[in-house]
């Protein structure tokens, strides 16, 4: 087995997206956990809580999306 340029590129793209989604995954888990707890304690506030939860998810998820974009850039030989 030999390491070719194309193979290393695949490996780099897979590592970028694989490692890059660990953090956002944990983050979204923590965030939704807290939001669901709050909704369970105070169901009347769930409308506002849901909106805030989605904003938080959007911010957290953006990091994962950055990883995805970099994986795409590496995979399509743009960088």
């Amino acid at each position: 087995m030999e390491l070719t340029d194309a193979g290393l590129r695949l490996l780099a793209a897979a590592l970028a997206i694989g490692l890059g989604t660990i953090g956002p995954g944990i983050g979204i888990g923590v965030l939704v956990n807290a939001a669901l707890n709050a909704m369970g304690r105070n169901p009347e506030a769930s409308g506002q809580l849901q909106i805030n939860m989605f904003i938080g998810i959007a911010f957290t998820e953006a990091l994962g999306i950055f990883a995805l974009v970099f994986a795409l850039l590496i995979g399509f030989k743009i960088i």
Partner: protein, 332 residues
């Protein structure tokens, strides 16, 4: 009865690619994923050639759909809404309520047009890309001026298709498989355009609300503590704590400026990444198992809505923050 007829018609249209296309000698070309939108044709404006890409073309379709919808809904307005007017009123009221809850009644009037436009445009373009036929159908000729992307197979038009299109297209061009219509959200140019509109308007609204000088000095160039330090220095009793906090404030101002710029990037890549990745996932799933895309199709409908909602809501929140005075000066 009318509804059944339209359902049957729609199903027939969907079946056309399956039954009619195999009669022609259409080459099966390996599916490809392209980040860059394909140029359909070029508009010649004097010496400058304006390329019309498939995503730009689709964004015109989106605009046309929104305009036609608005026209149909407001053509015969009545006090008791019915039909299209009812649908539009529900949507508009929901967005307006959101604006009022977040920004307050006065600012909601100002922010609502921007936020609602962004929401509707992004939502329609996200969902339009999910319609079957967006993506797989289309061929684009390649020549020396517009070479095929690297690693994408080119093929000549088959004889059957040449006869079908008539003598005008009976050329010996090479073609690539590229969609005629493609969701505008899968084009970085569109998403960065929207992000720039949102953030530039945010800055303008902030400067309008607080005044240009106050806005810049309250957010980005925070030298209030320095001024106080030099006042105490002039009195002969310098407070060096103020100097340290002044340095910190300067640094925070620079960070604030960087974060404003990074908001544009994050807007851009969030929308593009989500929708583009969604389409790639649908493509990959279609090659795994024929029924697998159904689940992801439903998920992509959800993601399309959430991304449109998040884009509009974040714009609204950034605008609200920018137009709110910091209040640090009043707390002394």
């Amino acid at each position: 009865m009318k509804r059944w007829l339209s359902i049957i018609l729609f199903a027939a249209v969907l079946l056309v690619p399956g039954f009619v296309l195999p009669r022609f000698d259409v080459k099966a070309v390996t599916a490809s994923v392209a980040v860059k939108p394909e140029v359909l044709f070029e508009l010649e404006l004097g010496s400058f050639n304006f390329p019309i890409s498939n995503t730009l073309f689709t964004s015109w379709i989106v605009m046309l759909m929104l305009v036609l919808f608005a026209f149909a809904a407001t053509r015969k307005m009545s006090l008791v809404p019915g039909g299209w007017q009812n649908v539009l009123e529900v949507i508009i009221e929901a967005i307006y309520k959101l604006c009022e809850n977040t920004a307050g009644a006065v600012r909601a009037k100002k922010f609502f047009p921007v936020v609602a436009t962004i929401f509707l445009f992004v939502l329609v373009s996200n969902w339009l890309g999910l319609i079957p036929g967006f993506g797989p159908i289309g061929i684009i000729p390649v020549d020396a001026k517009h070479p095929a992307p690297e690693g994408i197979a080119t093929f000549p038009l088959s004889r059957d298709l040449q006869e079908f299109f008539g003598p005008k297209h009976a050329d010996h061009h090479e073609y690539v498989l590229a969609p005629f219509v493609r969701s505008p959200s899968t084009d970085l140019n569109m998403t960065i355009g929207l992000a720039l509109i949102a953030m530039v308007l945010t800055q303008i609204f902030g400067m309008q609300a607080l005044g240009v000088v106050k806005y810049w000095f309250a957010r980005f160039i925070m030298i209030g503590k320095f001024v106080e330090f030099f006042k105490t220095l002039g009195k002969g009793k310098p407070k060096f704590g103020l100097f340290v906090f002044g340095l910190l404030d300067l640094f925070v101002g620079i960070l604030e400026f960087i974060s404003e710029v990074s908001k544009i990037l994050s807007f851009t890549f969030r929308l593009f990444g989500n929708i583009f990745a969604g389409e790639v996932v649908l493509l990959v799933m279609a090659f795994l198992f024929f029924a697998a895309p159904f689940i992801f199709y439903a998920f992509e409908l959800f993601v399309g809505f959430i991304q449109a909602f998040v884009f509009a809501l974040l714009t609204l929140i950034f605008m609200t923050i920018a137009t709110t005075a910091h209040g640090a000066e009043e707390h002394h």
